[in-house]
């Protein structure tokens, strides 16, 4: 009996959570299950921010994008220093050749210039090269949105050709990009030719300038010398004297000769006077001595003293002689430096030394498909996460009211 009083065993019940989210609803209102939003509504963000960019970039990089080949060349602009330089700087430079830094920049600027572009368009048929049928619609020129004028072509050209200088080694690297490897090579070779011609023009110009300067120096010195000679001649005619110094010397000689004569006559006179004081020749000798003394005095007077004396003209002669010497020296110097300039212009010139000839590429360097695709994937993933966070934070403003 006691067994019948036992309570019935507790039946285990299953505990379940409700499927619906807890919301207290007023009794007189009922919940309408919202219509299931469309697929686009639910996954629109994912589609537009992540899937679409990936598909587009995959389509472009995988199917549409044309291969672009790069031809690379390297050169350096060198200048050989003339052997005629005997300065300390030349002695310090152990090498006969130096790197021409300024000219390096000039040449790389020229390669990326409108001038080079114009030459390429004329001689290498550039417009056909960049509009090859194998090019894709974005990378050809003209493409769907660009103009066909020269300015747009130049912008395209700057992307197609790059010249970079390595500042440590001074080597310039020229890279040309084209749809066909042989096109890239041909254009690169043409560019190297133009660069060489440009360097030669620089040389010719420098040579002309150097020679023109020294020629002018020589002409100036010659004119100056001629002018001094002219002055000299005019002065000689004016004073009736060829050379004051020689004139002086000859006068002095005459004087000393006359003095000797006088001394001799004096001796004769004294002897005669002592032996035969009444000799009639005494008077004649005395007369001779007197006239010789008069001559000596006259010559002395010509040498110095008075306005017409040689000494007063000697100064002017010396001045003119000095001027003539200076002018002659200057002409000589100018002539030497002209010789030197000519020699240097022959020896010292720039030349473009090609280190690496343009290569014929057998591998399309661009587009870098994997890299571009990964970059697109990463950025579009970031775009997706950002937008999702921004949108959900924005909508959180509404939910909590």
């Amino acid at each position: 009996m006691a067994q019948q009083l036992q309570p019935p065993p507790i039946k285990e019940i299953e505990l379940k959570t409700l499927d619906v989210q807890g919301q207290l609803v007023a009794a007189d209102c009922f919940v309408v299950a919202p219509a299931k939003p469309s697929f686009l509504r639910r996954h629109g963000l994912l589609l537009f921010a992540l899937v679409l960019p990936l598909l587009l970039s995959g389509l472009y990089l995988g199917v549409i994008a044309a291969d672009r080949y790069v031809s690379e060349a390297q050169f350096v602009v060198r200048s050989s220093v003339g052997l005629g330089m005997e300065t300390a700087a030349a002695l310090l430079q152990t090498q006969g050749q130096t790197r021409a830094t300024d000219e390096n920049f000039a040449v790389s600027a020229y390669i990326a210039s409108r001038d080079a572009l114009e030459l390429l368009a004329e001689n290498e048929n550039l417009r056909a090269v960049i509009a090859r049928p194998e090019g894709d619609f974005i990378n050809v020129f003209p493409n769907f949105h660009s103009h066909t004028n020269k300015e747009a072509l130049f912008r395209y050209y700057k992307q197609m050709v790059t010249a970079t200088i390595d500042s440590a080694s001074g080597i310039t690297t020229v890279e040309v990009e084209a749809f066909r490897p042989e096109d890239a090579k041909a254009i690169n070779e043409a560019l190297l030719r133009y660069a060489e011609a440009f360097v030669n023009r620089l040389n010719a110009r420098a040579r002309e300038d150097a020679l023109a300067y020294s020629n002018q120096q020589v002409a100036e010195a010659t004119a100056e010398l001629a002018q001094v000679e002219n002055l000299f001649t005019r002065y000689r005619n004016e004073v009736g004297m060829v050379d004051a110094a020689k004139e002086t010397a000859s006068t002095m000689e005459s004087i000393s000769r006359l003095m000797l004569e006088v001394t001799k006559l004096q001796v004769v006179h004294e002897q005669t006077a002592a032996v035969t004081p009444q000799s009639p020749s005494l008077k004649a000798v005395q007369e001779q001595i007197n006239s010789l003394r008069g001559e000596i005095n006259r010559l002395r007077g010509r040498l110095a003293g008075g306005d017409n004396s040689i000494a007063s003209r000697l100064g002017e002669f010396e001045k003119l002689t000095l001027q003539r010497t200076i002018a002659a020296k200057r002409l000589e110097q100018a002539e030497i430096s002209r010789q030197k300039a000519r020699q240097e212009a022959e020896q010292q010139h720039l030349y473009l030394q090609t280190i690496v000839r343009p290569n014929l590429s057998d591998h399309a360097k661009y587009p870098r498909r994997m890299l571009y695709f990964l970059a697109t994937a990463l950025l579009s993933f970031f775009l997706y996460t950002t937008l999702r966070s921004v949108f959900s934070i924005a909508s959180e403003h509404v939910t909590r009211r």
Binding site: V32, S167, A168, T385, T386, R388, S389, S395, T399, R401
Partner: protein, 275 residues
């Protein structure tokens, strides 16, 4: 029969209409937060709101006077005064935005009591306030100096404003990451100050790229902040000083930081320690 508003909340989805409405609310919230931030920081006492500009102005002018007195020419052709002005304005912006992002969520957790306010709003409001305030400070310092002829006339306003805004965006993105990280990890907080100090040379505030050896150019130009400084300076200085920058590079870097920071902040919202 009218369906009550909350019915829409049943769906765990974000229909476009709600996002648009959310943005409208967010815009108003950010505006209000900016005013609140300015008021709570500066109040109505003495100069009040002006201190927003006054603080960076004092720093910039102080440094300019100091550098001029010391005769620090920084080795370049640029005058000390315009260089200090450009450097310290943008550096102040960078330091303020980043500095005010650290623990920004924890400090303002009480605001979350208001249902409309989200943590992101606080961060955006603070960054916007700094961007506007420090730029105003720059202009206030610039105007008299330009009139006295000590600073060149702005060469390119677009590059100036663009450099400023891109720099601010980058700082904001960095701030977002820091705001998220410092809430998630206590240790992150300890690293902020040393890292900010050590990376100071990478900001480009104390040099121009042109002054460095050519081999250094490629290295320092990895830093987006250097680009921002150069862009800002290229707006102020004439182009012969040779500024080097790329706006897309700053934008991509700032975007990547924002993309990392935004979900981080979204995630960290639920991990804020309420004080």
């Amino acid at each position: 029969m009218k369906i009550p508003d909350f019915v829409a909340t049943f769906a765990d989805l974000q229909p476009a209409a709600r996002i648009v409405e959310g943005f409208a609310i967010q815009r108003r919230v950010i505006g209000a937060l900016m005013i609140r931030e300015a008021m709570s920081r500066f109040g109505h006492e003495n100069l009040g709101f002006f201190w927003l500009m006054g603080e960076p102005l004092l720093l910039t002018v102080g440094v300019m006077v100091m550098w001029t007195a010391v005769g620090n020419t920084h080795g370049g052709a640029v005058d000390v005064i315009p260089f200090a002005l450009s450097s310290y304005s943008l550096l102040t912006l960078w330091r303020h935005i980043v500095g005010r992002s650290v623990h920004a969520m924890r400090q303002n957790s009480s605001l979350i009591f208001h249902a409309h306010i989200r943590f992101l709003d606080i961060l955006i409001a603070r960054a916007l306030l700094e961007t506007i305030g420090v730029f105003a400070a720059f202009l206030i310092a610039y105007a008299p100096l330009a009139l006295l002829g000590r600073v060149p006339v702005i060469h390119d306003p677009l590059a100036l404003c663009g450099g400023w805004l891109l720099g601010a965006w980058f700082a904001f993105g960095f701030g977002l990451v820091l705001a998220g990280l410092t809430e998630l990890s206590e240790a992150a907080d300890r690293f902020v100050a040393p890292v900010m100090y050590i990376t100071l040379p990478l900001t480009g505030a104390f040099y121009m790229v042109e002054w460095l050896p050519t081999t250094m150019h490629d290295i320092v130009l990895w830093s987006p902040l250097v680009h921002a400084f150069e862009m800002f300076r290229s707006g102020l200085f004439p182009p012969e000083y040779g500024m080097k920058w790329s706006a897309p590079y700053i934008a991509v870097c700032a975007f990547v930081l924002t993309a990392i920071g935004m979900p981080l902040v979204h995630y960290a919202q639920t991990h804020v320690e309420y004080s």
